[in-house]
Amino acid sequence: MAGDDRKRAAHRALVDRILNGPGRASAEQRALAFRNDGSLPPPVAELVDKVARTAAEVTEADFAAARAAGASEDELFELVVCAAVGQSTRLYEAGLAALAEGRSDGAS
């Protein structure tokens, strides 16, 4: 399992850095973007939700609206990264949990 531990550890290091390291967006904003729970200011929340659920539909206008609401380019860079990594992390965890359950049932 050594290789697998390295994969998960590398993933955790990425998540830990973007949420807990220094950034131009506050750690609270980054955590909200990661969770995509809708509680960021509206144009940013809409961009974040699109990144998480339908990224192929993001347009220039989504970024323009977020900029007009006062978000800087670097804040948007960070919040988009957090939204993408957040959704990916939920998928990864859901997959690993289903695998653990599928394996333990098989053994019993």
């Binding site: 290789g3 994969k7 961009l47 990144v51 990224a55 670097d74 599928g102 098989g106």
Partner: protein, 193 residues
């Protein structure tokens, strides 16, 4: 790209590196390669490490299989840039274009081994629906994929569910076939680090 800083916000030595890559490869530096150089301490350094582990670290899946998984997940996400990049890399790694085309056109009729087909199907469901069940996993295991292979595939899926979203949100420019070929050669030679 949709953020000006991702096109222009690089220090001088990074711009020189991009110019050198353009000169040597005679292709533009792909946006996927550029963004890992943007404030690399925030995202790029650790993203490269995770993606490299998932795609090139120890696994019973071949590099070609993992590139195919990346292309397949990207297809489910409708991420044109990543489908282009990783179908090219998978084709080159397998030395088999029709195999990759068949999987992306119709997984169920494609001429691939059952453990791989079943794993791709599960990754597609997870990516599309956001979840999979223990029963879905039992199907994959009974098709012959080992639990470790399923874990390894989930890491590939996680890496590309990040990259696909960034490609589409930031608007990575889709390359010419020659550009994707050059990128594929680079990824097989050097990996993601």
């Amino acid at each position: 790209m949709r953020l000006d800083v991702l096109d222009n916000g690089y220090p001088r030595r990074t711009k020189l590196l991009f110019a050198l890559i353009r000169l040597v490869s005679r292709q533009p530096v792909p946006d996927a390669a550029r963004i890992v150089f943007y404030r690399p301490d925030f995202y790029g350094d650790r993203a490269k490490e995770f993606t490299h582990e998932a795609m090139r670290g120890p696994s019973d899946w071949s590099v070609a299989d993992r590139e195919l998984m990346a292309a397949y997940v990207s297809k489910v996400n409708e991420s044109s840039f990543c489908v282009g990049a990783h179908s090219a890399t998978s084709r080159l790694a397998y030395q088999d274009g029709p195999r990759v085309a068949a999987v992306l056109a119709d997984l169920e009729s494609a001429p691939v081994e059952e453990p791989l087909r079943s794993t791709l199907r599960m990754l597609g469901k997870l990516t599309r629906e956001g979840t999979v069940t223990a029963d879905d996993m039992r199907v994959v295991l009974s098709a012959g994929a080992s639990p470790q292979q399923v874990e390894d595939a989930l890491a590939v899926c996680a890496a590309f569910n990040i990259t696909d979203r960034l490609a589409d949100a930031f608007g990575f420019e889709v390359l010419s076939p020659e550009g994707f070929e050059a990128g594929a050669r680079y990824l097989l030679k050097r990996g993601y680090r």
